[in-house]
Symmetry: D2
Subunit: 148 residues, 4 copies
């Protein structure tokens, strides 16, 4: 199975993906960020949620999560969200990620992606990533929406 087997490229995702559909995507493990342990937990045309349990492999030498992990979570959640909102392929053009607080092994990062701007040719999605109450990082991802 790959992502083309799910509803993501069939139509705008409304209603949200069911638990079974989410489980199928998570099991498919077709993306870099899924290999990192990212699990999708909610997906509609206007909101996507995901979580990642921090393991030793996600850390930098000082013991907190490498900033690139947040960038990758932001990149991936916003990209899937843009596809869910358009049923078209989307390509990230620029990834701006603010790194705001350190997160350690054993904590869970919860990401919520919401649209800032959904134009015909470009989208801007904003992804907040929290560990407990702390805002750890925010990604602003600009995407090009492609014709199929």
């Amino acid at each position: 199975m790959d992502l083309t087997d799910c509803r993501l490229y069939d139509d705008i995702i409304d209603p949200p993906l069911s638990d079974d559909e989410l489980a199928a995507i998570n099991a498919a493990n077709v993306d870099f960020a899924q290999g990192l342990g990212l699990q999708l937990t909610y997906c509609s045309a206007t909101r996507l949620e995901a979580s990642l349990l921090v393991e030793a492999r996600h850390l930098q030498p000082t013991g907190v999560v490498n900033g690139g992990v947040y960038c990758a979570i932001g990149e991936t959640t916003a990209s899937i969200a843009a596809v869910a909102a358009t049923a078209k392929p989307a390509v990230g053009m620029s990834n701006y990620t603010d790194l705001l607080a350190g997160v350690r092994e054993g904590e869970t990062i919860r990401a919520v992606a919401e649209p800032v701007h959904t134009g015909k040719r470009t989208h801007l999605w904003r992804v907040e990533m929290r560990a407990g109450d702390r805002l750890a990082a925010v990604t602003n991802l600009k995407l090009m929406i492609l014709d199929r």
Copy 2:
């Protein structure tokens, strides 16, 4: 061994790290990006180089490298470079990565980090990532330099 055993936190890195020192850091595998397969190939106080052979695990569903991989390479190379330039801990504050071209499995991404601004409290490093002749991505990483 961890990074504190190498010269990185002892003094500004001049002359560049030797091949043995680079090999020791690469073997230590203490960072997220090293787990991704990133290998340091050159490290001085004013330039850092690294490379990554693209494997299936780095890709997004369309078959090109997930943008988060470039962000992680940029984050890691610029962070190590800032430490090499200051002999002090450095924390990424914001990661701005432009995604410019697709790279596929089997290609090698070569990253070169150079300083744009090295102030007392903040640094800005710019990391160009190429696959062959193509500029695939550029990271601008802003860092806070910490007192020890």
Copy 3:
């Protein structure tokens, strides 16, 4: 009069500035963006609002507002807001502005700045700029908070 005569550097701004205090700052015209026509309309420790009536001098050759105007509005509102939140000087470190829709002469741009992260040494403020119902631009401004 300059800004040091108002409450901005005396204490964290709570309650919000009064209409008289806002009028005094707007009349003082001590900042680049005020020279552009930006008027502060609300200022507390957690929210700043301002507006600008678009004139011919704000445009680029194609007849819409030059993107630099939004960056300047974002820079200025977020900077004043950071001072209002801390009663300390604040210096912009990086300004990331997404340009989302064109605005024409005679329209009014309304800006709202709210904090994303208010740390001891750095702040991140996000400024949404709208013309009527359209989201025209968003600035994310990262600032360094200085000791007095």
Copy 4:
């Protein structure tokens, strides 16, 4: 006269604009940044230069140039440069400006715009702004290239 009277939209700018052509554009004053005092000093398909003499109106309350001025210089020089490189209209999509050093009244900011990536649909230009030997700011401007 407006910019459509000059060679900018006729063809890719090679050879560079002559002194007379630059003077005509500067005199036309059709853009926000020209109203700020920005003067174009060199324009080819692969490089654009401009300068601005800092006056009191460019400053923020602390006496240094408002960060929005750099963003506006970066926005404008990169936009004209993209037109010069393509002979097509170009729209800024995101403006990322790092603010690196303070510049005071009476100093001159010299800007140099060079291309990072010139794709068919999108461009990325990088604009370095210096005052004397100091690097004051760097803009990375992402643009959409439009069909005429």
